[in-house]
Amino acid sequence: MRSVLIVGAGQSGLQLALTLREHDYDVTVMSARTPDEIRGGRVMSTQCMFRDALQHERDHGLNLWESQTVKVEGLGLSIAGPDSSRALDWFCRLDDYAQSVDQRVKMAGWLELFEQRGGKLIIHGVTTADLDSLSSMYDLVVVAAGKGELVGLFDRDDARSPYSTPQRILSVVYAHGVERRPEHPEFAAVRFSIIPGVGELFMIPAYTLSGNCDILFFEGIPGGPLDCWDDRPEPQEHLNRTLELMRRYLPWEYERSRNAELTDSKATLTGSYPPVVRKPVGELPSGNIVLGMADVVVANDPITGQGSNNASKCAAVYLDRILQRGSEPFDRQWMHGTFETYWDYAQHVTQWTNAMLQPPPPHVMDILGAAQHNEAVARRFVNGFCDPSDFQHWFMDPEKAAAYLASVGADRANSG
């Protein structure tokens, strides 16, 4: 039986750990926190997962919260005009619903499931010194802890990392009492609002410790009015400030949120980080090597909501590669090949996400505008969140965009 050590208890690390247990691998997970500490801790993410990512969980019986979690049945886009009007405002149903389960619920539950399935859980915040000794005791060591000192083992890949500073300042609040948009009271949906030059707001229906809720997630351009969290406000003040910003910039979203209440006393989060792609193989002082996964090696800005989707897909790729390897050694060449298999997919997410951080170029505005009147365009855009590799064929390039819009009768001459 091959032994695998996984450092980190997030979406990617635990999904890989649980799916390796199905194949009787001897799996040890090291988590900095116990399940109860995770449940009692701060919110960590927004984690809206689309069909392809959810399907990996269904395939392995990991979708423990699917029945009680609100279904995200569509995605809407608004662009704020200068006088708090809406320059654009449309909604489109997803082909298959998405869902967001608070990682405090999911990772705590998955850790317990992992132990029930015969996995070994060690509660310890791992240091490089720990890893240096531990790496010789396992056939494979995977680092899936996207925060903390271990990330330093993996060198930045300059060719794949256009940014060196944070592109957005992040603010998250989990709230009860947010109403649905009056245009579609029968559906829960992710609503994406752009405030040009200022930032974006995502409103994401989700399931948390106290049931279904909505996540109010601001992405602020650094130095702008949404970059206002340096004082680390207390949770209630954080919610008040969030609502005040919504009232000022996005009054139609404020209207349905005026009765919002914090889901709990740990329901807020702020932060920022530079988007980065790293080299996948980390070398320890002993010369032993470890493999990085998910946001350890590909950390995109959350503006496209792909962090947990990428984590899920990375775990699926790594599982396949480990199983295919049989009893051969997990050497450097295998590690590079494994990452590149994941990168074949993830590069499209990175390129699309990095593009979305910039002011939208004319061809993107043509697409988003056409989507207001043309169902085919809207549908292709919203379903791209499930598999962003499609965007290379039409969204990322002005000529391809023009050709596509013409092909569906949505070019500027027609949509007038």
């Binding site: 060690i122 240091t127 000794s133």
Partner: protein
Amino acid sequence: MSDENGAGQPKKMRSKRIRPYALTGGRTKPRYDLLVETLISVPHYDPSLSDSLMPESRKLYERARTRVSIAELSVLLGIPLGVVRVLVSDLAAQGAIYIHPTAHAYQHDRNVLERILDGLKRLPA
């Protein structure tokens, strides 16, 4: 000396590739939250088990013949804390090491908590 680890099989397993999971046959084990102050000791010392362990685990098993904390083990043996936690957890899962309850286990016992508090107050500042 009685062998409490199941038909003596562990004694033959010297390869570091053989993880304790193999020894326990996949049964679900309780998790040990090994705090730095957690005390451990060897309940029934077994020299043949000691021989079968990999070097770090053997040093740790030998040292724990007298009661010792996780933090002390890390310092005394020069093994990083995380590694001590992994090795102790492995040994505990085999029943080779006993993990003494910490104050967490007494959180409803007012007398014990007051004694601990009293002891803390008497520590030099």
